[in-house]
């Protein structure tokens, strides 16, 4: 299992930025089990890169291969299956169903291809300190709580790659650590690769290959 980025250049980015980047316009292979930490300031294309890999956007040149298959060429049904059990994501903007409860938001993802039993939701919520928020609608939760709901949702499915797009932007130090431990455990259990994008290097990350975008 690997993701192969071949000379990816977003359509909108300047040549100067491409030359300075360790990813844009270069070749990069992300192998199963690998931890990659992409560091870049705001506006340099972290979210774009995540969306390119997840298949949400196609406004780039170059190719992204998942094993031997070009992600750009996946059919709509192919993308569904890709997102059900090969790749998972924590969006920077969370993307929750506002009127659904926290539990419903997580369950909607879990039932697609259940990796964990429903009880695991309670267990993870307890670890991240949001067990009392599970029956509350997402829109009434704080950003930090919504971020933890989105993290648990992303861990409910089987995956070989987990994409994290500034997943801790609204979490304090203690909650970041708890969330990170949970994510490490889940990736290890699946021998999955983790691609973590953030504004600056995070000190408690372990064994990360740090790349500057």
């Amino acid at each position: 299992m690997q993701i192969n980025l071949q000379e990816i250049v977003p359509d909108y980015i300047s040549k100067d930025k491409v030359n300075k980047s360790q990813i844009w316009g270069k070749n990069l292979i992300i192998n199963g089990g690998e931890h990659l930490h992409i560091v870049a300031p705001s506006g340099s294309g972290k979210t774009s890169l995540m969306h390119f890999i997840y298949g949400l956007r196609k406004d780039y040149t170059g190719n992204i291969f998942y094993d031997d298959g070009d992600i750009k060429k996946l059919s709509t049904e192919g993308f569904s299956s890709f997102r059900q059990n090969k790749i998972s994501i924590i969006f920077q903007d969370m993307r929750l169903f506002e009127n659904q409860t926290a539990r419903e938001n997580i369950e909607i993802k879990r039932v697609l291809d259940p990796y964990h039993p429903p009880q695991k939701i309670d267990e993870m919520a307890k670890r991240l300190g949001i067990e009392k928020k599970l029956s509350q609608s997402a829109k009434t939760c704080s950003y930090g709580e919504q971020q933890r709901i989105a993290i648990i949702r992303s861990l409910m499915q089987p995956f070989n790659f987990l994409l994290l797009d500034e997943p801790y932007s609204h979490l304090d130090e203690s909650n970041r650590k708890k969330a990170m431990e949970l994510i490490y455990e889940e990736c290890k259990a699946r021998n999955a690769a983790m691609v973590f994008a953030d504004l600056k290097p995070i000190d408690f990350l372990m064994d990360e290959k740090v790349i500057y975008l």
Partner: protein, 395 residues
């Protein structure tokens, strides 16, 4: 909780936008009912009037004679060769056949069993114009038995006056066993024959004998083989063709349309029922449009939720199927209800006093069931296609 539509239902069903949905369902129900009922009535009319329809292979056969007026009374009102040529050359007339009458006297008796005696007229016509032509309808010189094709109207008339005259009534089957003795006589001679009714005709009001007998006997009894027809049968695709009618009227011909009226009534009835069916199809189309507006609105309102579901990995095919499942049971219920109502109406139809045809089934015709299934398939196809199209716009 397994993967099911219930999980995502609150994300798709949007608010109180149900007016167009229920109007769509209602319209569909009315339209389907109209279509199915009109189809079944169409088939009923077809079956009920089948046996009485003198129209054959798409042709009308009508009798034409010259109008008898005070001015031409007593004159020769038979058709000349020129008259016949003019008739046959008219566009819209496929074929003509003159009815050749007897020129000699014919007296008929029915033997000892039925004490009945009358002067008769006989006619002959081309065999191709006879609606009920048995193989036995032939005659050769020397043959003493003459086959006769009897008008079924005459039989009906006979059965009306027979009891008052102390005569037995006759069924269609027994009439063939009645012995008719024909006493033919003319200036050149006389001879007796035995007449045998071999068939009844709905089309031709006459007593028909084979042409060979008519030609032989006219010559034999009168010495004159030139018999002129007072009536001519016309074979046409449409006896109600205005051009044909005005042509005949301009030539002062009288058109006997009695025999085609039944067929015309049937045709008018079927046209009315067909119009009802077409109206049904239009109502169905309108109902489908209304329902499609509801679906489009529903998808447009749920666009953000649907997009997020697709982002999370929900398959567009599964989502489309799930949306289809919300209205499919209602559609099936509507069509099954329409079928049940049509069946009840069919049973009621059979109770009507004028319907006494044993051939008419109380069950719906298979083609009505087939149309119901086809309708279901078409509506599912159209609506699910629409849902898929709308979803693909979101991706």
């Amino acid at each position: 909780m397994p993967l099911s539509y219930k999980n995502i239902e609150p994300l798709i069903i949007s608010g109180k936008n149900t007016f167009s949905k229920w109007m769509g369902y209602f319209g569909l129900g009315i339209g389907v009912l109209m279509l199915l009922v009109s189809m079944q009535i169409f088939i009923n009319i077809q079956q009920l009037l089948k046996e009485n329809n003198p129209r054959k292979n798409g042709f009308d056969f009508i009798s034409v004679s010259k109008n008898i007026t005070n001015e031409n009374m007593g004159k020769d009102n038979t058709f000349s060769r020129a008259d016949l040529d003019k008739l046959s050359s008219f566009q819209g007339i496929e074929d003509i056949a003159p009815l050749i009458p007897n020129q000699f006297r014919v007296k008929a008796t029915a033997g000892d069993i039925i004490p009945f005696s009358t002067d008769l007229f006989l006619e002959s016509i081309d065999n191709s114009f006879i609606d009920t032509l048995p193989q036995s309808f032939t005659w050769q010189p020397g043959q003493l038995v003459v086959p006769i094709i009897f008008s079924s109207d005459f039989l009906e008339m006979y059965n009306v006056f027979a009891p008052a005259q102390g005569l037995p009534q006759l069924s269609e089957k027994t009439i063939s066993s009645v012995n008719i003795f024909l006493e033919c006589s003319g200036p050149k001679g006389a001879q007796n024959f035995k007449g045998n009714i071999v068939a009844l005709s709905d089309r031709i009001n006459s007593l028909l004998v084979p042409k060979s007998f008519m030609n032989w006997s006219n010559l034999y009894f009168t010495g004159d083989s030139l018999a002129h027809a007072s009536r001519v049968f016309i074979k046409t695709k449409d006896a109600n063709n205005p051009r044909l009618i005005s042509f005949l009227e301009n030539n002062n011909y009288h058109l006997n349309k009695d025999k085609i009226k039944f067929g015309r009534i049937k045709s008018i009835l079927q046209n009315i029922v067909s119009a009802l069916g077409i109206l049904g199809i239009l109502v169905i189309a309108l109902a489908l449009m209304l329902f499609s507006f509801y679906l489009q609105l529903m998808i447009a309102k749920s666009k953000d939720n649907l997009r997020l579901l697709l982002t999370l990995g929900y398959s567009p095919g599964w989502l489309a199927k799930s949306v289809v499942k919300t209205w499919l049971p209602v559609y099936i219920a509507i069509i099954v209800t329409a079928l049940i109502i049509t069946e009840l109406l069919q049973i009621l139809f059979l109770q009507l006093s004028f319907v006494n045809n044993a051939d008419l089934s109380s069950m719906l015709h298979w083609s009505v069931l087939l149309i119901a299934i086809l309708l279901l398939a078409v509506t599912v196809f159209i609506n699910s296609g629409l849902v898929k199209k709308e979803l693909s716009k979101i991706i």
